[in-house]
Each structure stands twice: as C-alpha cells, then as structure tokens.
C-alpha cells in the first residue's frame, strides 16, 4: 500500500504583477486574446458555409444577421483580430528564426503589427464597400 502524499510544493516564478508592463508584453496577451476571439468567430464562418450548403432560405437568414449592426460589428472585429493575429504570428515566426529580437528592431515589429493590422482592416473594409456590401 502506498500512502497518499501531498503534492510537492515547488517555488513559483513571479507572475505578471511584479514586472513593469511593456508594449511587447501587452502584445503577447493581445495575441492570445485575438486567438481566443477568432476561435469563437469560427462559429460564424461555419454558419456561413452550412447556410450556403443548406439552401436559399438558410443563406438569407445568415445574410440578414451579417448585415445587421451586431453582425457587422462581429465581422469587423473578426477581420481586425484575424489580421492582428496573422501579423503577430508572422512576427513570432520571424522571432523564432532569431531575427529582430533586440531593442529597436523588436519595438519596430511590435508597432508594425499594431499599425499594420489597423491599416489592413480599414483597407479590407474599404474594398468590401467598393465591391458593394449587400
């Protein structure tokens, strides 16, 4: 018979609250949050495809929701989260190669990520407007 032992108490490394908040640190959190948001947003993509597969009526219902203000808000948020996560992922892949992890370069990547995602989202929705949202 083995007796139940209490879990071993190991020292924990200090967590968020003891560090000075930096932009790159906050962006790490934003990458995770946008990832989670995209996970939820995949429900909308699935709805779109299933509706298209189901028929005219189901597709009309989806279009109605997508065209409502809440639908538009979700889609706009999804677009930004997608582009932010995409550019953030690209940044992480570049960093994985050991490029641009020091000082100024690192901060440049962070800013490019933020500005790039906003510019790309606005451009994309501009294109959508031109091609005629219904």
């Amino acid at each position: 018979m083995t007796e139940a032992r209490a879990p071993i108490q190991r020292p924990l490394s200090p967590h968020l609250q003891i560090y000075r908040i930096t932009l790159s640190m906050a962006m790490s959190g934003v990458h995770r949050i946008t990832g989670l948001a995209l996970c939820a947003g995949m429900v909308m993509l699935t709805w779109w495809l299933l509706a298209a597969a189901a028929g005219q009526n189901a597709y009309g219902t989806f279009e109605g929701f997508a065209a409502s203000w809440i639908g538009r808000l979700i889609l706009f948020g999804f677009t930004w989260a997608l582009l932010h996560h995409l550019l953030g992922g690209l940044r992480h892949l570049i960093w994985d190669l050991g490029i641009g992890t020091e000082g100024e370069e690192r901060e440049w990547f962070i800013r490019a990520n933020i500005i790039g995602s906003i510019v790309a989202t606005v451009l994309l929705w501009g294109l959508l407007m031109i091609f005629g949202l219904r």
Partner: protein, 124 residues
Amino acid sequence: MRTPLARVRGLGSAKTGTHEFWLQRVTAIAAIPLTIAGLVLVISLTGRSYPGVRQILASPLVAVLLMLFVIALTTHMRIGVQIVIEDYIYDKNQKFTLLILNTFFAWTIGLACIFAILKISFGV
C-alpha cells in the same frame, strides 16, 4: 524500490515532446497564404447573389483551398486554445473538462465546414 508510477507522479513530462509545438508553427505557416486567399475570396463573393456564391464555392480550386484553410485553422485553433487552458486553469477537473470541450469544438467546427464545402461542391 520505486514503481514507475511513483517515479513519474507529480513530475516529468507527458512524453509528447515537441510534436504540437512544431505542428502549431507548421499550421501557422500554412495559415498565412490560406488566410490571404480566404480574404480575396470574401472580397470576390461580396455583393453576389446566393447562386453566384454557391457557384464560386463549388469550383475545385476554391473548395480545396477552403478545406485546407479549415484544416490548418482548426488544428492551429485547437493547439492554441489548449495552451491557453493549460497556462491559466489550475483546477484539474476544470482543466480536463475544458481541454476535452476544446477538442470537441475544433473537430465539430472543422468537420461541419468541410461537410458544407463538399456538399456545395457536389451540388447535392
């Protein structure tokens, strides 16, 4: 004398190595061109009627790219959310419940999307 269970309890790795770490990066690399293709698709579908949308979705190139997109993204999504759960949920019951639900979610989304794409493609 220690049994293997006693030796591993409370310490040691799950012995899956870097498989999922690597898969997360592979799916990320795949997701970059596929997402761009997806955005081009969305722009080209905007403003089209239902038959027009179905016709484009049914074309082999679009359907295959869209299915690759779904496979890469649902795999990437499952691993990513799993990492977040493992990092922040300490309670074992909660953690394993969420991990299982996350796996169910990713597979359901993935399969539903692929089924829909195939149904549209085969025109049934």
